[in-house]
């Protein structure tokens, strides 16, 4: 797997994460406006948008066409409460951690460093949404 393929896979993950955060942040904002969860969701939404845009730039710089977002993503369960929104955030971050971990294994040098940073961010975010810390985030529960 090339660096470009590893980046594309991370980008596809970030597209999905950005969509999911759009949904969950809206639910939390509606149900718990101004709460810590609300601020957290907004911060993470912005962070994922920034990371997605950075990945698009990276892929483009390597001469490839960045993968596009899907028009719609199927949510794994209804997101109607703060609790279910937090559950979705945990799920998204766990899956992103697995995606970035795989990208670390499939890349070298600067792209590997970028993927490792993404893995750390996803692991920290998952715990901030209530996930239990694990010894090997991204390598289990994919």
């Amino acid at each position: 797997v090339s660096d470009v393929a590893a980046l594309q896979s991370c980008l596809a993950g970030e597209h999905a994460a950005f969509y999911a955060y759009g949904v969950l942040a809206a639910v939390i904002n509606d149900r718990a406006h101004g709460s810590r969860a609300d601020l957290r969701a907004t911060d993470d939404y912005v962070a994922h948008r920034r990371r997605r845009d950075a990945l698009i730039d990276q892929v483009t710089a390597l001469g490839a066409t960045p993968v596009a977002a899907q028009p719609l993503y199927e949510l794994p369960f209804p997101v109607t409460t703060v609790s279910s929104a937090a559950r979705l955030a945990r799920l998204v971050e766990r899956r992103l951690a697995a995606t970035y971990a795989a990208a670390v294994g499939d890349s070298v040098a600067a792209v590997r460093a970028l993927a490792a940073a993404g893995l750390t961010d996803a692991a920290v975010a998952a715990v901030s949404w209530g996930a239990t810390p694990t010894a090997f985030p991204g390598t289990t529960g994919r």
């Binding site: 670390v104 460093a113 490792a116 750390t120 810390p133 090997f136 390598t139 289990t140």
Partner: protein, 164 residues
């Protein structure tokens, strides 16, 4: 903490092209006896040694902090479990007979629960950045993946221990 389902002992053997040997013999073959000049370590094997030593140091620091500052035990229990899982995994993929000697840790644990926890949090933060650099150095993608994962778990611990 669930250890990953990974081809543990095979990992470095496949990556570095060396054969898997038993750890119980500490490098000595029953037929050949001790080897006077061990073969040069592949970069990944040397890297695993380096990481293992570092994780053992961190584990020793956590243990010492829990021993000298019992009030930190509740907060450090998870950290201990996670770092011990790292050590166990690294022990499992050691492919040469020579064991990495457990370090003798002579660190000062600051007085007071908060300062002691902050000391471990700092050590986790340092381990996170060190593991990140080591992951870029690793030759095998599978080893790099696990080092990046360890880096992420240390970063999580640093955040958790730094909190109230």
């Amino acid at each position: 903490v669930q250890a990953p389902t990974f081809p543990r002992r095979r990992l470095l053997a496949l990556a570095a092209g060396v054969s898997v040997v038993s750890l119980t013999g500490c490098g000595e073959s029953s037929r050949t006896g001790p080897s006077p000049t061990p073969p040069p370590a592949s970069p990944d094997v040397a890297l695993v040694d380096e990481v293992l030593l570092d994780e053992r140091r961190l584990l020793a620091l956590v243990d010492r902090t829990m021993l000298l500052r019992p009030a930190t035990t509740d907060r450090l229990r998870l950290a201990r479990h996670i770092v011990a899982a790292h050590v166990d995994w690294l022990d499992g993929i050691r492919v040469r007979g020579r064991r990495v000697r457990p370090p003798s840790v002579d660190v000062a644990v600051p007085p007071g629960r908060g300062a002691a926890l902050a000391g471990v949090a700092d050590a986790c933060r340092l381990a996170a950045s060190t593991r990140r650099r080591q992951c870029v150095r690793a030759g095998a993608g599978s080893l790099a993946q696990m080092l990046a994962s360890m880096s992420a778990s240390h970063a999580v611990l640093a955040v958790e221990l730094a909190g109230p």
